[in-house]
């Protein structure tokens, strides 16, 4: 029998680990370790592959796991792992498409919030690994009062999140082994800003007008225009509400620069 080349070995091994197919020529070319059979020796690598990627998903999507429980999470993970090969050298970067994958899963009939919860967890992880920079403070606030044409640039460690479901409360319970998601009223709309302040992660629940205003500003709408649009939509909004919110934004130092 011709010996397999390195490339052929790696191709065959890849097929077996990833697609779980058996490659006869490859199996014949190996000597199993210990008292394992050839198939069992390959099985060690196949199982380790699944376990490693399941663990990676479990770490990032901890609250999805908490909600659906072990058997269903392992089933979801398996479905994802064998339909989404890894293209990243860092395991903790695996799972970028897990939220979209969940969206198409039948479990969303029971847990309509599942995909949004996963999106939130992914965003949180991404922000955790983002560098924190010092945003501008009260000086910026003074400058702002003078000019309505200002455009805000937000720092990298800042993210806006919104969902028709209260995924934030579910996420907050993820380490609570005595509680079930069923006891949480998740049918409430949630808008959040996730950001870093002095290198620590922070999450602030936003009122609807705050989220609307921040979204406009984040997209580069000049200040005066953004304020006008939000005031038209939210009639009860007072100047005090607005100035309190800006005081918070500058205190939280999420704005990196202001352009004219």
């Amino acid at each position: 029998m011709d010996n397999l080349s390195l490339k052929e070995i790696q191709e065959a091994f890849s097929h077996m680990i990833y697609q779980k197919d058996q490659e006869k020529k490859f199996i014949a070319s190996i000597e199993p370790g210990g008292t394992l059979s050839r198939e069992e020796a390959i099985g060690v690598y196949q199982r380790a592959y699944k376990a490693r990627f399941t663990e990676a998903l479990g770490e990032t999507f901890e609250s999805v796991w908490w909600v659906v429980g072990d058997p269903q999470f392992f089933e979801l993970a398996e479905g994802y792992i064998y339909s989404h090969a890894s293209h990243v050298y860092n395991l903790s970067s695996y799972g970028a498409e897990f939220p979209q994958f969940l969206e198409k899963n039948k479990l969303t009939q029971t847990y309509p919030f599942l995909s949004d919860l996963a999106t939130f967890e992914w965003s949180f992880k991404e922000l955790f690994h983002t560098e924190d920079t010092q945003g501008i403070d009260a000086e910026g606030l003074a400058q702002m009062a003078e000019d309505g044409s200002l455009i805000f640039r937000f720092k990298k460690a800042f993210h806006l999140f919104s969902s028709p479901y209260d995924v934030f409360t579910i996420w907050g319970q993820r380490k609570n082994k005595n509680k079930e998601h069923a006891h949480i009223n998740w049918k409430e709309k949630t808008s959040l800003m996730i950001y870093k302040y002095q290198k620590e992660m922070h999450i602030k629940k936003l009122k609807e007008y705050e989220y609307a205003l921040l979204t406009l500003l984040y997209l580069g709408t000049p200040l005066a225009g953004a304020l006008q649009r939000v005031s038209q939509e939210f009639h009860s909004l007072s100047p005090q509400n607005i100035s309190d919110f800006f005081a918070f934004l500058f205190h939280a130092r999420v704005i990196e620069s202001i352009d004219k």
Partner: protein, 272 residues
Amino acid sequence: MSDCFVGVGLRTVHYPHISSKPKIRIKWFEAVSENYMDTKGRPFEVLTSLRRDFPVALHGVSMSIGSASGVSQSYLAKLKELINHIDPFIVSDHLCWAHFGNVSYNDLLPLPLTDETLSLVVNHIDFVQSYLGRHLLFENVSSYLTFKHSTYTEWDFLKEVVRRSGCKLLLDINNIYVNASNHRFDGCEFIDAIPNDYIGQVHMAGFTDMGTYYFDTHSKEVSDPVWNMYHRLIQRHPTVPVLLEWDEDIPSFEKLENEALKAATIWSSYHG
């Protein structure tokens, strides 16, 4: 050298302890490169701060030096950036393959020990060492299968890689023991075959007996037979840096240090 140069692997669970700046008894840390290459968050801050007080080695798991589809250029660029930032005293990875084409298996997969593999690995090491502008260390991995058409013993293969590429070995004594049991050879013959100046670092770790094979889990104390093999090596090679790895069921930092410092006690029994 007046003492044994013992370190431990830096793990996330110990960040709070280490950040509180306690009295630390070990001398250096090893960080898994990939955990710090894509982050500017807390892990990066902890490592940067730790580096001010301790020597650090960067130990990679994803270079995939034995991959028939080549080493990733973007991976190397990221690694180089981290090396420039940390200024490690050792940069290492494994003698294995971990990706093929654009698919990553994030595992330390075994290579056939043939002339074909040898020349591919040596070419890749040449390329990587010149790109990074430094010598690297490569670690022997645990395996659960071997290839019938291998023409080298594992130790002869490693020696040939060192001789041809100028890299050094990160000798994992636990992996030697696991492979000796799984593939039925004498681990002491392996250790005795490798000259001192080929060995740039040693790893110690615990394995799990799965009944039908030994599995490299890094989930427990170093076993007695592995300590016995360490005796054999440290007796003749007192200057080699030694590192304890623990990756699953990770104990308190104090227990980790205690386990690592057993290596220093053994060292002292010969050289103290």
